[in-house]
């Protein structure tokens, strides 16, 4: 038995190149045992490639990948104790649901009787027992998704890889499956590595998120960390909505930076590492951390005028322009409490940045 501090998957300076094209630049990251880990990024950022490298479908050009401490590059996919839930599920169309789920168990050397028994239990777990004798084509998308999950979990892999498994489902079903997957991961204690381009999905389900872009790791952290303390402009912009303001640092005192925004506005914010007086940087403020009021607040507010209110159900999004400066987006909850903070278009208002909500980004 490996001790609990050994990472489930350890990626050390792994790179992937196809001829001249670099899909993944030298990347290192450790995925802990029993963790729900998400690789998040836009199309073509290399997240699926990285997953396929762990599964064994892509060679590692440089560096190494360790699974519970042992190097796996020389092992073919069928010798790696990891299973994959494919994006299009890849259920074997000529086999019944039961045969699909017991396939991996039989290939592991279990007798057909044992394999079918365990497969039956897995189908019970995903509540599909009555469909055991059907063919995949006779099931709905959501049911096929659960079969794919049961099939990948049946051989008790040490790591489960999920390649955007929810992307083909409609919104309601996707939300339900997110919760179900999270519970399943808790119950089984298997390490899940989940690939998605949907930031909300990543925030909802993950213990930790690795944000990727252009084959590089942008930030690694817990959901709240990544959302509230983005490390750079890409992460701030990709995860959630944000206001990115170009600012000039006019002063730094007591670890607080004074930021000058076009139009003569001043915003105070925590000086992050590498910030120095006189440089220009970007300030990221989430729309829900901005407050509108008719009179200026004590801690200092910015003058602005309302351009438009957009009703989005749970919230009201207000577009406004800072006097002589850039545009801002403010989100106010659609409630009696929030209604006092919504103003008609054309109104002159004051905007206040919640204490500690602004984040200074130097790249």
């Amino acid at each position: 038995m490996t001790d609990s501090s050994t990472p489930a998957v350890d990626i050390e300076n792994a790179a992937k190149r196809y001829g001249d094209f670099t899909a993944i630049k030298s990347m290192s990251l450790s995925i802990r045992d029993n963790e729900f880990f998400t690789l998040l990024g836009p199309s073509g950022c290399g997240k699926t490639t990285l997953l396929r490298m762990i599964a064994g479908f892509e060679d590692v050009t440089e560096g190494a990948i360790f699974l519970f401490g042992s190097e796996i590059e020389q092992l073919p996919p069928n010798k790696r104790p990891v299973n994959t839930v494919f994006q299009n599920y890849a259920l074997f169309p000529h086999m019944t649901i039961l045969e699909n789920v017991s396939f991996g168990l039989e290939m592991q050397g279990n007798s057909r009787v044992d394999a079918h028994k365990r497969a039956g239990e897995m189908l019970e777990l995903v509540q599909l027992s009555e469909f055991a004798q059907r063919k995949p084509a006779q099931l709905s998308g959501g049911q096929q998704q659960r079969v794919a999950l049961a099939r990948a979990l049946a051989p008790s892999p040490r790591v489960l890889l999920l390649d955007e498994p929810l992307s083909a489902l409609d919104l309601k079903l996707r939300k339900a499956m997110q919760i179900e997957l999270k519970h399943l991961q808790r119950e089984t204690g298997i390490t899940f590595i989940f690939v998605t381009h949907d930031q909300e999905e990543a925030l909802t389900m993950s213990d930790r998120i690795a944000v990727m872009s252009a084959g590089e790791l942008q930030q690694l952290g817990e959901p709240r960390d990544v959302y509230e303390r983005p490390r750079n402009r890409f992460v701030a912009d990709f995860i959630g909505d944000t206001n990115l303001l170009e600012v000039a640092i006019t002063d730094i005192a007591d670890n607080l930076a004074s930021c000058h925004v076009q139009g003569g506005h001043q915003i105070q914010c925590g000086a992050s590492e590498g910030v120095s007086k006189g440089m220009t940087a970007h300030l990221s403020v989430r729309p829900e951390r901005l407050l509108l009021s008719a009179a200026p607040a004590e801690e200092g507010s910015l003058r602005a005028s309302v351009k438009e209110n957009i009703f989005v159900g749970t919230d009201i999004t207000t577009l406004l322009t800072l006097d002589g400066g850039p545009d801002l987006t403010v989100r106010t909850s659609n409630s009696a409490r929030g209604a006092a903070r919504v103003f008609d278009p054309g109104a002159d208002v004051f905007v206040t940045v919640e204490a500690g909500a602004a984040r200074l980004l130097i790249n």
Partner: protein, 277 residues
């Protein structure tokens, strides 16, 4: 497509269709109808009868036809089986091995027997057998048939294989199947429709072949087409029409089954890949 722009709305569409159908099928219909003619003449109609079908099996030429039929069907069976096996291997290599050097030339080489005029192939095969001192007979026909049947078996199998996403094999290997197990348990069953179609096509092409067979067959060894040809040289008798009609029926059945098999889709379960990825 609107009915106004449909090709069916073109002037003369119906006439052209009729002419095409007539040119294609009139000879076959004549042969089929006259095979039931109760007459010694092939042109004078004297009422319906099955006497020429009986003549094929019991008449003076029946022994010759029986041997020829046995040769034809046994050669077609073996040639179709062997060429299908070769075609499965070639299709697997050409579709599943990714890009490799000489992939296109390999494809061309497999397809060559379809492109080359049959007479050239026949002469070349004959010269080849002569130069290596292979005595002409049943075996030379069989070898020649295996070689020219390969592209016909290859086409439907390759088309089928291209339609099978490689994620199925990846899923199998991900679930601890070796390469061989993934091929046998997953890829091969999914290819079955293509294999059936390819086999039947090869079978019918072999059964039907005259030119190459006529060149490479030894003295005294006949297949149905060469036997019919030999018989016709001494004047066309109605029993030839009966035999032709039976061959036509076999062909129609095989081609129909081959077509249906190629259309049969046993992979219809996967979802379309999400375009958002």
């Amino acid at each position: 497509m609107s009915a106004k722009t449909d090709v069916k709305a073109y002037r003369g569409f119906f006439t052209v269709t009729l002419i095409c159908l007539f040119v294609l099928y009139a000879p076959l219909i004549v042969v089929t109808v006259y095979s039931f003619n109760d007459s010694l003449s092939i042109t004078v109609w004297q009422g319906v009868s099955l006497r020429w079908y009986a003549d094929v099996f019991t008449g003076v030429e029946s022994a010759k036809f029986k041997t020829a039929a046995f040769n034809s069907f046994s050669i077609a069976l073996i040639a179709a089986t062997v060429s299908t096996l070769i075609a499965i291997a070639s299709a697997t290599a050409l579709v599943r091995a990714g890009r490799f050097r000489l992939r296109l030339p390999s494809m061309g080489l497999i397809m060559l027997p379809i492109m080359v005029p049959e007479i050239v192939l026949a002469v070349a095969t004959l010269i080849f057998f002569n130069s290596i001192g292979f005595t002409r007979g049943y075996l030379t026909i069989l070898v020649a048939h295996i070689s020219f049947c390969i592209p016909f078996a290859f086409l439907p199998i390759q088309a089928r294989m291209q339609g099978i996403e490689d994620t199925y094999e990846q899923a199998a290997m991900d679930l601890y199947a070796s390469r061989a197990q993934a091929f046998r348990r997953v890829l091969l069953p999914l290819m079955v429709p293509g294999i059936i179609s390819g086999f039947l096509l090869a079978f019918i092409v072999s059964l039907d072949d005259f030119i190459i067979t006529n060149f490479v067959k030894g003295a005294g060894v006949e297949t149905l087409p060469t036997a019919i040809f030999g018989s016709v040289k001494q004047g066309i008798k109605p029993n030839i029409m009966a035999i032709s009609t039976m061959l036509l029926a076999v062909s129609v059945i095989f081609v129909a089954v081959s077509y249906l098999a190629a259309k049969w889709d046993n992979t219809k379960s996967h979802l379309k890949t999400d375009p958002a990825r």
